[in-house]
Amino acid sequence: MLQYLALAAILFAIGIFGVLTRRNAVGILMSLELMFNAANINLVAFNKYIGAAGLTGQIFAIFVVVIAAAEAVVGLAIVLLLYRNWQGIDVDQMNIMKW
């Protein structure tokens, strides 16, 4: 089981790197998807190796997939709105809420 947890940790760290360094908002959303997948690998691995019998971990992984899809839809709608209003989606130029 430890190998699956290690893979998930590596994937999550790569996702954090993407969120911290990308300027493009779509790139940040893609890195977020990587992190969701890392969390899901953990859930499914725990479901197989630890705990009582049943498939609770897989059920929660399905919920995570659904929430991730909803997040991607709303996030990309916001990206398109930003593109329409700002002609750019670089997040380091978005500072109108900074005082």
Binding site: M1, L2, Q3, Y4, L5, A6, L7, A9, I10, F12, A13, I14, I16, F17, L20, T21, R22, R23, N24, V26, G27, M30, S31, E33, L34, N40, I41, V44, N47, K48, Y49, I50, A53, G54, L55, T56, Q58, I59, A61, I62, F63, V65, V66, I67, A68, A69, A70, E71, A72, V73, V74, L76, A77, V79, L80, L81, Y83, G88, I89, D90
Partner: protein, 167 residues
Amino acid sequence: MEAESSQLVFYLLSFIIVIAAICVVTLKNIFHSALFLILVLFGVAGIYILLNAEFLAAVQVLIYVGAVSVLIIFAIMLTSHLTSRKIKQSNEQVTLAVFICAGFLLASLASIANTVWRITDRPMPEHNTLTIGKLLMNDYVLPFEIVSVVLLAALIGAIVLARKEGT
């Protein structure tokens, strides 16, 4: 024999996943990043199959590879002239981010290695999809309904956000 071959498949899949994920976060051309993201999602579906989660692997391929990545590629295409390879795609904090990620990775690997896991090698349910369906309709019916309301809210929210003003 079976354990050895599944080990081999696991290492192959995780090699593909890690290399493709690094490509996702570092490539200059964001469209190529999206294509490598699809490769990562396929690899994770393979990992699910290794972990006896066949239904989840199918869901992964249908929702992530089929829907989410198409959505991401649409967004990239609609903002296309911003994603040419001449534009710098990363900000000035790359070195700091590498240190943060390495620290996080070391901390989580150390905690994984130091925790005493109570691994029970119990058999998985025979019919994966059947069991998940029964669980969703009995024990988890309330979260199931709530998540469908969340999806509806996200749908309406995306339409309201993305439509033009005054139409």
